[in-house]
């Protein structure tokens, strides 16, 4: 019989009294109970060795004329330049060796929610896998994972990856009925809206199999968080029962995104952030079923600090919305709220009051740097 002990900790809250233009006090933050028996690494992967640093690589050649085709050769060059610049290594393989050894078991957290247009793209995921194998990992030591099988199936990475790499989804779909792939002993407990099931459990592979994680989010608008990038992809993409944080115009993503991302061992093992910004979606996110709200940053961002990258992302999404005359992601007016399909047709409609302050909140939890003045961005052109 298995016996393990709980380590229960009350999550600490940042002391900030205001986030963005929003005043936040203790009553805005639900009480979180974190259960994890995993201790943090000496240097947790988030924010990692490149705290407050972002390498942004842009190429006008990475997409075809209409943005529908991706040029894999150009993407490879962008990836090599980005990784070398981030680490300061002269050789690409040495850059990857900074993070990984042949003994590692690596999970690659992709994002398939924005299918078909704004997902972790095949060439980027393939290039990541190629470099891991070059470091000396076997294909069986590499997992590409997402929460929902139906989304993963649609994006269909298999033809682009070597045989032996595992494609894994924790649940068949977003129905909240499949729990076996989640770790019952590693969770965050909180009561947001009086729900009975108050736990969000970490995917078992993360706690019990992976030694390292690479996060490959996209540049996306999000109805609850304002924008979704590194933090939300790794947080909401690694735990069960998270949709319960949004209800009737209110979202608790302000504090929950960072709280989840900070749970061990997820925090320590997520060592590399590669934001796929070849395409993005400026409204209606995290979904992108058509090209209607898709835009083309033609950029990949590299770092270990998810907060710094996401802080840049907030402006990228907000600026794109401004270009289209849409309300800001920081808009909190009740008049903008309409919890219906109206959002799909009108970029001036919010389904929830958005919480872009989740990025600053995560900074307060020690996950990275949110102050633009302190973030160092290296911009490269390929």
């Amino acid at each position: 019989m298995k016996r393990r002990t709980f380590m229960q900790i009350l999550a600490t809250s940042p002391l900030a009294s205001s986030i963005g233009s929003r005043h936040v006090d203790a009553s805005d933050i639900p009480k979180y109970l974190i259960a994890s028996e995993y201790k943090p690494a000496a240097e947790p992967g988030m924010p990692g060795p490149y705290r407050g640093q972002v390498v942004s690589v842009k190429s006008d050649r990475c997409l075809g004329e209409k943005g529908e085709q991706i040029n894999a050769e150009v993407v490879r060059e962008m990836m090599e330049r980005g990784m070398r610049s981030l680490t300061g290594e002269a050789k690409t393989q040495d850059a990857w060796r900074r993070f990984f050894t042949p003994a590692d078991v690596v999970g690659i957290k992709v994002n398939c929610g924005g299918r078909p247009w704004v997902v972790s793209s095949h060439p980027i995921v393939a290039e990541v896998v190629r470099n891991l194998l070059a470091v000396g990992l076997k294909p069986s030591q590499v997992y590409v994972y997402e929460r929902f099988q139906n989304q993963l199936d649609t994006v269909n990475y298999a033809p682009h990856l070597p045989e032996g790499v595992t494609l894994f989804a924790a649940e068949r779909g977003n129905r909240g009925v499949d729990n076996q792939n989640y770790d019952p002993l590693t969770y965050v407990e909180a009561d947001f809206f009086g729900e009975d099931d108050t736990r969000s459990n970490m995917i078992r592979l993360i706690s019990q199999r992976f030694t390292k994680i690479i996060n490959i989010p996209n540049m996306k608008d999000h109805g609850a968080t304002g924008a979704t990038g590194c933090l939300k992809n790794i947080a909401y993409g690694s735990f069960s029962n998270v949709a319960r944080t949004h209800f009737k115009g209110v979202s608790h993503t302000l504090s929950f995104v960072g709280t989840l991302a900070g749970v061990e061992p997820l925090r320590s093992r997520t060592v590399l952030q590669i934001m796929d910004g070849l395409r993005g979606v400026w409204h209606g996110g995290p979904f992108a079923p058509t090209l209607k709200y898709v835009f083309f940053p033609k950029t990949i961002m590299f770092g270990t600090d998810p907060v710094a990258i996401d802080r840049l992302l907030l402006d990228i999404i907000d600026d794109e919305r401004k270009r289209h005359g849409a309300i800001s992601i920081w808009d909190r007016s009740p008049q903008s709220l309409n919890n219906s399909r109206a959002r799909d047709a009108d970029p001036n409609v919010n389904i929830l009051i958005r919480e872009p302050g989740h990025v600053e909140y995560a900074a307060g939890l020690g996950l990275g740097i949110a102050d633009l003045k302190q973030i160092k961005v290296r911009e490269l052109e390929v």
């Binding site: 019989m1 298995k2 016996r3 393990r4 009925v177 729990n179 989640y182 729900e195 099931d197 319960r244």
Partner: protein, 311 residues
């Protein structure tokens, strides 16, 4: 007439089809059935053990809802939690009561399990299409120990007989807030609900979901004797005798519950479960710590019973 199987409190199937259906009943494993009085002799001659039950006798029993997820999310609820039609609160309110179900197709097995879990005296008028499934469920229930252990409750309710209390009890049971009906005086529970008092005005009971939530907060989740995670459509009942506890779990969703986590207050050292359709189920990730015991049921269909033994 209460026969042996009624003493066991196995739910009784009311069968109103003619004697020509005897082979189908035998194939389903049913020998003990309730039948119209005029058919009793014929069924007995056919080798069955019939209980004569007239329409009047049936109607004298309290009629129950068909157990199901009613699909009315947000009705009397502040969350996405689906609405469940369940009868456990009626059994808990009136443990000595006599009940009957009039069930459409597809509900017989869950109804039988529900009545069994609460040790209720219930007759099930089933759709003939459910005969096989009902037979399987009754065979499964027959293989379980009858649970006469005292049910555990975390709070008390004074039953004033008012209609307002119906929905309050329903929502308390729905949320796995274990209650016991007590007389108007002398409750030993830290929370005793009596509608119409300063603490629990009847006006609050008009919103039973909010009322149940208030009780939940008063009690505190950590102090609840039974918690269920990984699903919002399973209702539990907990009984304890000495160093052993039984958890009855009823899944109203109509589909398998996968990896459901159960937390029971108290330190138990071992446990085992039986689940309909799966028989013996190993309790996974069994942990006893900080005054509570947790385990995972890897798979569960309509009904499961877990038995825990203290160290």
């Amino acid at each position: 007439m209460r026969l042996f199987w009624l003493l066991l409190n196995l739910p009784l199937i009311l069968w109103q089809q003619g004697i020509q259906t005897a082979p189908a009943l035998k194939q389903a494993g049913l020998e003990q059935i309730a039948v119209p009085p005029e058919q009793a002799d014929a069924w007995q001659k056919a080798g069955f053990k019939p209980v004569a039950m007239s329409s009047a006798e049936l109607e004298s029993r309290q009629r129950l809802l068909e157990p199901r997820v009613a699909g009315r999310a947000n009705v009397a609820s502040a969350t996405r939690r689906p609405w469940i039609d369940a009868n456990g609160w009626r059994f808990a309110r009136n443990p000595a009561g006599k009940f009957y179900y009039d069930l459409p197709a597809g509900r017989a097995a869950l109804a039988a399990a529900e009545a069994f879990a609460y040790n209720a005296d219930a007759v099930l008028k089933i759709d003939p299409a459910d005969l096989e499934e009902a037979g399987k469920m009754l065979a499964f229930l027959r293989s379980l120990p009858q649970d006469t252990w005292p049910p555990i409750a975390d709070l008390a309710v004074v039953d004033d007989g008012s209609p307002e209390l119906d929905e309050v009890l329903n929502l308390l049971a729905r949320r796995n807030l274990l209650f016991r009906i007590v007389p108007d005086s002398g409750s030993q529970f830290p929370i005793t609900i009596k509608l119409g008092t300063k603490d629990y005005p009847k006006s609050e009971a008009a919103d039973p979901s909010a009322f149940a939530q208030k009780i939940r907060h008063q009690l505190g989740d950590e102090k609840r004797s039974l918690r269920i995670y990984g699903t919002e459509v399973v209702i539990g009942r907990l009984t304890v005798e000495g160093k052993r506890a039984r958890v009855h779990l009823l899944n109203y969703s109509g589909r398998e519950a996968d990896g459901m986590r159960v937390r029971v207050r108290g330190m138990y050292g071992s446990g085992e479960a039986r689940a309909f359709g799966h028989d013996r189920v190993t309790l996974a990730d069994f942990v006893a710590a900080e005054g509570a015991t947790e385990f995972t049921l890897p798979k569960m269909g309509i009904y499961a019973m877990a038995e825990l033994t203290a160290k």
